[in-house]
Each structure stands twice: as structure tokens, then as C-alpha cells.
Symmetry: D5
Subunit: 94 residues, 10 copies
């Protein structure tokens, strides 16, 4: 099932740069692994913002929450989730 | 270039049902033609709402506006557009 | 899977009372049928408002959308959907 | 009486991790005790967010406030409360 | 129990003035009866607006909803309800 | 004259607990004195929140501001003030 | 006492132009009379909008409400009222 | 002086199409005349919306209001105005 | 020209009290000087809030920005500016 | 292609003034270089706020994001981007 997810990243002022760089590297590795697994099917940068719009394809809300809540940057993210259904005019699903 | 577009449809109370059905049929035909042309690359229904989230791949803002503003349902739609850039962690662009 | 759904009903001014009564009766029959099927698991009235908070247990976003979008009062409703995951402190799921 | 309660948890940046873990453990114990007492009747995680939607069944506003305001994580929570009445189409109350 | 209720009245343009006057007269009679019964304990006009702030003292959410939803002006009102608990610094409850 | 005042208290993270307890004790003493003087006529806790809804009966905006702005917790409060007029359906003023 | 009042005028589509012109003329006459009485002390147009910012100097909330609620355009106006106190740095009050 | 102005056009449902087309033609003529006079210095369409972002260069708020409030589509427009000052990093003003 | 300006002051928690007192004293001196120059024509305290509503009479947006952005408390203020035009019903301008 | 960009700068309390001054100087140099390259075509200060409204002329969303996300003050800025299309009434594009 497809979930539309917007993630806005708000690094707190004064966070240790080395720590945050490490978290960002882990986040990238996790994101790319999930993309290769076909779970994180779209990942776009919102132009001009430290935010992304993604689409996940996972089997349940729990599965989605397990992925999002264990992302290294989760503590610094504002996330909104929108369940996507099939559109009657869509000629493909993904 | 990719544009994230959210469209909320608000049919006014009292509109002639036959007219609106015709407009919806035209909208579907246009949407499917644009999908086949590769311009309307993603079209999803927001579960529970008369709204969709779409991604368009067109060459300019003018091209996007020409498409959206000539959609049959445009007069009844609330539309927000978000330009999408390439995400550094994305392993593919679409 | 559980979906938290809020429905605010906005009957347009001037709608034919007999028509709206018929729609409300159909809505009630549909709601009660879905409850007996175990799909509409909770239905509460927000005190003081023509609105409800519900929880649906259905297998997919598409299933949820098919139910909500075919409710007789759907054209007059403002709906927001929130996917619910299992809470680590919950001792039961429903 | 039923109260719909949404709790968004905002751990402040820089809080002592050990302290916060202890508070979370206490919170879990309290939440599970209240569930066993039948006061905290529903507890769901909002998928993708450090937030929950709950339903409490207690005898008064004061009782609800006493519970919520003494939760270990109360100082870090944004809480909204919505009183729930019986819906005319509901075939059960809980 | 005490409920803080804000009611904003939005008479639709074009409503039959005679009908609306009759509804307003019925609303006033009902409001005054409920005040004499001790259920509607405070009723104030928000200066400059067709809105009021009230406090109700009733035994349950259902009781509150039955009162509010049967007010003659209910179809034209935007209502928000806030449950009030006893404040630790209050020297009286009402 | 009656003023409806909502006060949301936001204690900053890291404030010295002993200091804040002292301020809260002073706040309580001031609130109770003002209630005995008949200026702070209603003080209710919003169930589930560190916030109150109050009604003040003072002779002018300046008088109200002098009271609110010298409350010990004023620096940590978000305050909104709504002037209350007599409602045509009210059978008493307080 | 001084009240800051913002009035946004929303003439409904389809209102009889002659009626609305008459109401506007009455509104102007009333506004100018109240200015000459010293009650409506400031009246400015918000540049680019059918809205004004005013300051009233009247003795009570009731007096303000009586003025505003009987303005000919009141039914078409969205009004917000802010009580103004004396500023410690102000070298004059008006 | 420069004013940033956003105009969102909301044609009411049911307006006479011939009338609205005439108003739009008048609007275009006025806009082009004002551009040639150097008053309306920038006029851009917001991609995907019946809205524009403009910059006006006029000598006063009154002058701006006279222009905007007499635009043929003014009754159907939601307008916000933002005064623009010279930016210290700008290498030109327009 | 007249500018309506609202200033909400948000002193950050933990700022050095002596520093902030000095800034407030400088702010007061500047405000009173500008009032005597006839630039800061109205300055009112919003009752119950650390905020003011002011009206400035200056010759340009740049002039206004130079004044506001050099106020000692500017770094701690949230400011909104509304250009005021002459109201057709106003019998005086200030 | 033209992008309308609003940038609100929120310097965190307690940031090292010397560091922030250096960042501001770098920001000014970058902004002026981009203006000379014809990419940053308009840059205006919003009167009364630490914010600007700009228009960029670049060939893609990625190009825009590369510019904005590498601005020295990017970590302290809240940015919103609006794609601008050609307006049918515009007599020039820039």
C-alpha cells in the first residue's frame, strides 16, 4: 500500500555537528537500503527547504511506523502521513 | 522537471449533475492522455477525500500552468504546487 | 488495519429537507451495516458538533476510500484520515 | 464518559537521555495500569509521529485532568481533549 | 460538570427574515429556560461579534450534545466545546 | 466590566524547579487574593492542559493589563483577552 | 476606553446592488456621526482590501457592542476587537 | 515605492459568464495600461492557481488602494499587500 | 503616510535581565523621541499581552524599516505591517 | 524560469555574534554575485521584518535548490518557493 509522507527536518541549534553528520550519513544509508528493498519508492527534495516528499509502499501502518520512527533523524523531523488510494483516472498504480 | 501538485475538488452545491458528469469524463480523458504522454507521471487518490496528489514532469512553470488551468475541473479545484528537486539520498529520480 | 477518521458534516443552506432526511437515513443504515461487518469499529459523536470521530478496521487504503466515498453524505462531508499503528504501551489493539 | 485525547510528545533537545528513558518507562507502566482499570480504553500510535490518539472512560473532567496532568511525560506533551457523545447510528458505545 | 462553549452564529445570506426571527425567539426562550434550570450557567456576548461564550453545567457529554444540537440556531452555528476542570487556585467552582 | 481571558502556561525547559515552584505559589496567592476582591470572578482549568479560562470583572483595560502583566507567571504565559458584553438572552450578568 | 477594531466586509454574491448602496450610505452617515461624537476616534482603510482598522473610545464593552452590532453592514462584516491599554512609553493616550 | 501584492481570484459559482468575460477583458486592459504607466511593474501568474503576484510602484498607500479597489475583478479578489523596502544586499531596486 | 504596526515581544528564556532592562530603557527612549518627532503617532499596549499596536507616519517603506529594524528590541520582536489608506468615511486622517 | 522565494531569517538566541556577522557578510557577497550573474533577479526587504522577497531566474528546481540550500544563512531561514508562470496580461516577463 502507498503512503505519502512529508518530512521536515529541524536540526536544533547547538547540536554537535559531528553527531549530526553521522546521523545524516546513517539516514542516507537507511534510505537507500529501503529504496533498494522497494519500500521507499519515491524520495524527492522540496526545492528550497530541508524537507522531502516521499512515497512508501509497505504492507501496514505498523510497518510504516517502524520504518519512520527508527530513522536516525526521526527525533528532529516533523512528519505528516497521507494514505494514498488508487485514482480512478490513473493508468498505473506506482 | 518534477512538480508535486495537490488538487482538492469542491463541486459547488446545486451544480447541474449532468454538466458535472460531463466535466468529470473530460477530466479523466485529459488526465489519461497526459499520463500516456509522460507528463502526468503519478496520480493518486487521497484516501477519504475528493482530492488527489499528483506529480507532473514538464519542462517549465508555464507548461504546468497551461495543463492545470485548462483541466475541465480547474474552476472547482484548490491547487497547491511544490517544485521537487533531486534528493541526495534518492537512488532514482522518478 | 485501523484508520482514525473525523467527519464534519456541512449540509448546504437550501438543500431539500426531504432529500437530506433520506440521505441521512441511508447513511445510518450503511453505517450500521458496516459496524455489524466489523469494518466501522468505533463511531462517536463529537459533543456539540455535527461531526463524528470513527475508527475503521479495513484491509487497505482503497477499501477505506471505497467505503467513505460512497457514503450518502460524502458530498457534504469534510473528512480527515489518520492511520493508526500499534502503541508500544497498548495492552490490546482495538 | 468518553473523552477523545490526542497527545503529541515534544522531548526538548538536550534533555538527559537517562531521565527521559525513566520517564517513558513510568509513563508506560501508568498507561498500562490505567488500561487495566478500564479508564484508558483505547491507545493508538499515530503512524509516523511521536503522538497518540486515546479514548478515556472516566466519570468527570476533573478525573480526566488528574490522570493526564500527572502523566510523567505531561510536561513535554501538547494535549487536546474532545468530549465524545453517543452517536445516533452507533450500535455500541465503546 | 462544567463545559465552556463558544457559539458563532452564521446566518446564511438569503434566509427568510421572518423564519430567522422566529428561530431567534425560540432560541432565546430555550436559553432562558435552560438558565432557570441551572444548566446554562453563564451566557455572555462576545463584544462586536454575533457569537457568545457560555458555560453549561450538565451531567454528561450526551446531555450537553442533546441541548446544543436541538437549539433552534444549531444549523447556523459553529460550536467549540472545552471541558473545564477545577483549578487548584480557584476559591469557588462556578 | 467582564473580560474573558485564556492563559496557556509554557514553562521553559531547564528553568530552575525551585524558582518555578516559588513563582507558582506566588501566582496562587495573587489569584486567590484577586478572587476575594471580586476581580477574578471565574477561574477554571482546561481539562488536560496547563491552561486556564478565567473571567475578570475590572473597571478598565488598563486595570486588566496591570493585573495580568504583574502575575508571577506572566513571562511564561500566552494570553488572549476577549471583552464580554451583556447577552440579550442572559437572565443574569455574572 | 480604547478598543482596536478590525472590520472585513464580505458582500455576499448576488445581493441587490441598490440595497447594498443604501446600506453603505447609511454606514457612512453612522460612522461620521460617531466620529463627530468622539466615539469612533480613528478610521483607516486597509490598503488593497475592503476592510478597515478603527479605534473606538467608549465607556464599556456593552457600548461598543451596541455600536458595532447596529452598523448597517454588520451582517456582512467579520469583526475582531482588541482592548487597548496605556503603553508605558506612550507620551499621549489617543 | 514598491508594494508586493498577491491577488487570488474567486469567481462565484453561477456568475453570468458573459459578464465575467467582460470584466476580465476590462481587467486586462487596465492592467496593461498601468504597466505602460510604470505603476504595475511586475505581474506574474502563480503556476497552477487563478492568482497572481504583482509589484506596484506608486507614491502612496492611497494611490495603491485607488488602483486595486477599482480593478474590475476587485469584488472577486482576496488581496494581501506587503510593503517592500530596499534590501542592503540588493544591487538594484526594481 | 500611515503604517499600522503590531509588535509582539518574545524575550528569550535565559537572557541576561540587566541586558534586557537596558534594551527596554533604550527602546522607551527611542519610542518617545520618535513620538515627539511625530513619526510614531500612536502607541497602545494590547491588554494582557507583551505586545503593542502602533501607527507610524513616515514618508516611505524604507524609512519605516530603518526605524523598526534599529529598535533595540527588534531582535526579539515579531512584527506585522499594514499600510493604511484614507477611508472614504473618515472625517480626519490621523 | 522564475521562482518567487520568501526567506524569513530566525537567528537563534545565543548564537556567537562574530560568527553570525561573518555569515551575513558571506550571504551578502553570495547574493550580490548571484544578482550579477542574473540568477537572483529581484531582492526586496519586507518592511519591518528580518525577511526578504526574491525572484530567481534559473533553469531548474535543482539549480534553485543548490543555490538556496548553500546560502550561508540557510540553516536559520524559513523558505517558501512559488513557481511563477507568464501572466496573460503581462506586457513583459521579468
Amino acid at each position: 500500500m502507498l503512503y505519502h509522507v512529508r518530512m521536515d527536518v529541524h536540526p536544533p541549534h547547538g547540536i554537535d555537528p559531528a553527531l549530526f553528520d553521522r546521523l545524516k550519513a546513517e539516514e542516507k544509508a537507511r534510505a537507500q537500503a529501503l529504496q533498494r528493498e522497494g519500500k521507499w519508492v519515491h524520495l524527492w527534495r522540496i526545492a528550497g527547504q530541508y524537507a522531502n516528499i516521499s512515497v512508501f509502499d509497505v504492507e501496514s501502518h505498523d510497518a510504516l511506523h517502524d520504518i519512520l520512527s527508527t530513522l536516525p533523524l526521526f527525533p528532529f523531523m516533523e512528519i505528516s502521513v497521507t494514505p494514498l488510494a488508487r485514482h480512478p483516472s490513473a493508468i498505473s498504480t506506482k
